[in-house]
């Protein structure tokens, strides 16, 4: 089932539905043909006085998988949540810096936090389907929210999203059943389908397999490989093998700072920083 199309040189075929703003400036570095989808520039984040993310900058290529790794509490989740402006929904939380999506800063005054989240989807650490909704309604929730009433279109998107999350075959006859009736791994794929239904350009995944068993985890990993054909993925993981398996770029964080950001191969074979080397070899303390 695993696809092996992880070459970095691959030129992007997929072009996301452009939103109607024409301010977009495509930042294309000269060194590579691949477009920079997301540019995080000097992002800082706080919980009250606690400085959780300290001046992180990094760029993410379109149709790539980027992994955030680092010890627990180092700010991976917080950084991820800064990207789609979820961080600021927490009481007393504050974020600063720029997150440039297709040339436009999501923190710009003119940009709407809800709109940002429609373009940047999110899958959480613990599966969180809506418990009172059926499988179908869970996937359709975002569509209905955004005013889509066309039943036929909704059904099509639900099917396509469930297929995209490799859940369709398991639930196609139970679409009216409650989403909570599924197993943990299925619930997580349901949440993935719910995010995919919004046709996001970027998908943020926060330790999406930490609550799952190995088989369910490897299903999610396979999906990540397939989905990157269509969108850009950033995945937080504390499982280094997982980072090595699924990602092209890896960012290693420590105490809120970005220590090293390099191709995954280099991070694991030839880390540039001593801290990285210590972390990946399991010698930390």
């Amino acid at each position: 089932m695993r696809l092996s199309s992880s070459s970095n040189e691959e030129v992007t075929r997929y072009s996301p539905q452009t939103s109607d703003n024409d301010k977009r400036v495509v930042v294309a570095p000269a060194t590579t043909q691949t477009k920079i989808k997301l540019s995080i520039q000097n992002v800082n984040a706080w919980f009250g006085k606690k400085h959780a993310v300290k001046g992180v900058s990094l760029e993410v290529k379109e149709n790539s998988v980027t992994a955030f790794i680092g010890p627990s509490g180092c700010g991976k989740t917080t950084l991820l949540r800064c990207i789609n402006r979820m961080h600021e929904m927490t009481p007393n939380a504050k974020a600063e810096g720029r997150v440039i999506l297709d040339g436009v800063d999501v923190y710009d005054k003119s940009s709407d936090p809800a709109m940002v989240k429609r373009r940047i989807g999110m899958v959480f650490q613990k599966p969180n389907p809506f418990p009172t909704m059926s499988i179908h309604d869970n996937v359709a929730a975002g569509l209905k929210l955004n005013g889509i009433r066309d039943k036929k279109l909704i059904n099509e998107v639900v099917e396509q999203s469930l297929k995209g999350a490799a859940l369709w075959d398991e639930v196609r006859n139970d679409l009216h059943m409650p989403g909570m009736g599924l197993s943990g791994g299925q619930q997580q794929r349901l949440c993935l389908a719910r995010a995919l239904a919004m046709q996001p350009e970027i998908l943020l995944m926060d330790e999406p397999t930490s609550a799952l068993d190995p088989i369910a985890s490897s299903k999610i990993e396979d999906l990540v490989q397939q989905l990157k054909e269509h969108l850009t993925i950033i995945i937080v993981t504390h499982n280094m093998q997982q980072a090595a398996r699924v990602s092209e770029q890896t960012a290693f964080m420590y105490l809120g700072e970005l220590i090293e950001y390099n191709p995954t191969r280099d991070i694991f074979k030839n880390p540039q920083k001593e801290l990285t080397e210590k972390y990946i070899s399991g010698r930390f303390g």
């Binding site: 989240k117 959480f124 009172t132 909704m133 929210l145 909570m180």
Partner: protein, 338 residues
């Protein structure tokens, strides 16, 4: 992963194992005692229910055999004159349901608004003190609300709400067509609403607070606004709890006695049927409170107990109805697999 075998001191081993064996008996006894106590408390509640139902039933046999149950429930007379005694509960059933209905109609939306504001909107430096005040209000004895309504609030209601309603709508809609007096079902309903708002708000707040943030974030992540998030994640998740809070409020309003006695106008007999919003009326519990001390005959006493039986049945119907509604609404129990 140290090498070398672990040294076991046989003396200590003996002591420890003897202790483990010896203590088991006591622990079993403790277990049994606890079991017995818990069983006893559970049996106690059952006992109380049986006693209450039995006493109310026994006390009201007389009136039910005289008027028939249906006759009593649909009757409108309340005549205590010897030889012509006749009692019916209908006016007070209507009075009870109407005043509580008004309380529910006004009180529940207000309470939901208060709870929503506290949990979803107010910053903690506002919600903390405000929650505290609401807890305080919930602890105010209802008679205080009653006295305040009798001496102050009813005049405000009469001058600012009832009279304008009567003047503008009275000649078109029969329901408003009665010169308001201030002591009537409408005032009673509003004061009951004021009485139930603190407790319903407080419980609803707890229910909304119990909705996990992961649910809110799920909605946010789909691009929901604050309000959409509540509609999508908070209300559905808390549905049964919010319904429960409302039913509790309704139950309080239905059973409230002294407050209602002070402000509902205490009409008796057919005239106690509220034909307009501003009619004087009477509730089941307020009539019991008003007449129990002066009941002149056994039959009248039995009729009053019969009102109690009807009240008991109404509250049971409300509770069972609520349970059915809850189980219909919550098709899914979190974590359940089918």
């Amino acid at each position: 992963m140290t090498s070398g075998s672990v040294h076991i001191n046989t003396d200590i081993k003996k002591k420890v194992s003897s202790f483990l064996v010896g203590s088991n008996k006591n622990r079993r006894f403790g277990d049994k005692l606890f079991h017995g106590l818990v069983f006893g408390t559970a049996a106690y509640t059952l006992f109380i229910i049986v006693i209450v139902v039995f006493s109310v039933g026994a006390g009201s046999i007389k009136i039910f055999s005289q008027e028939g149950f249906i006759g009593f429930v649909t009757g409108t007379a309340w005549n205590a004159v010897e030889g012509r005694e006749s009692y019916g509960a209908l006016p007070y059933i209507i009075g009870t349901l109407m005043s509580s209905g008004i309380a529910l109609l006004i009180g529940v939306p207000m309470s939901m608004g208060v709870a929503y504001f506290l949990v979803e909107m107010a910053p903690s430096r506002v919600s903390g003190p405000l929650s505290f005040i609401i807890e305080l209000l919930a602890a105010v004895p209802s008679i205080i609300y009653g006295l305040w309504a009798l001496f102050v609030f009813r005049f405000l209601i009469k001058d600012w709400i009832e009279t304008p309603l009567y003047n503008t709508l009275g000649s078109y809609i029969p329901f408003f067509n009665q010169a308001p007096f201030g002591l009537d079902v409408f005032t009673a309903g509003i004061v009951l609403a004021i009485m139930i708002i603190p407790i319903v708000s407080s419980i609803s707040r707890d229910v909304m607070k119990a909705v996990p943030d992961s649910q809110r974030e799920a909605a946010y992540s789909l691009g929901a606004t604050r309000w959409e998030t509540s509609r999508m994640a908070v209300f559905p998740y808390g549905k049964s709890g919010l319904l429960g809070a409302s039913i509790l409020g309704f139950g309080r309003a239905v059973g409230e006695t002294m407050l209602v006695t002070l402000i509902i106008g205490n009409a008796i007999g057919p005239s106690a049927i509220p034909t307009t919003l501003f009619s004087q009326s009477q509730t089941l519990s307020s009539l019991i409170a008003n007449e129990f001390n002066e009941a002149s005959s056994d039959l009248q006493l039995s009729a009053l107990i019969g009102l109690g039986a009807v009240l008991l049945i109404i509250t049971m119907i409300i509770n069972i109805g609520a349970r059915i509604m809850v189980s219909r609404m919550v098709k899914v129990s979190p974590g359940g697999r089918e």
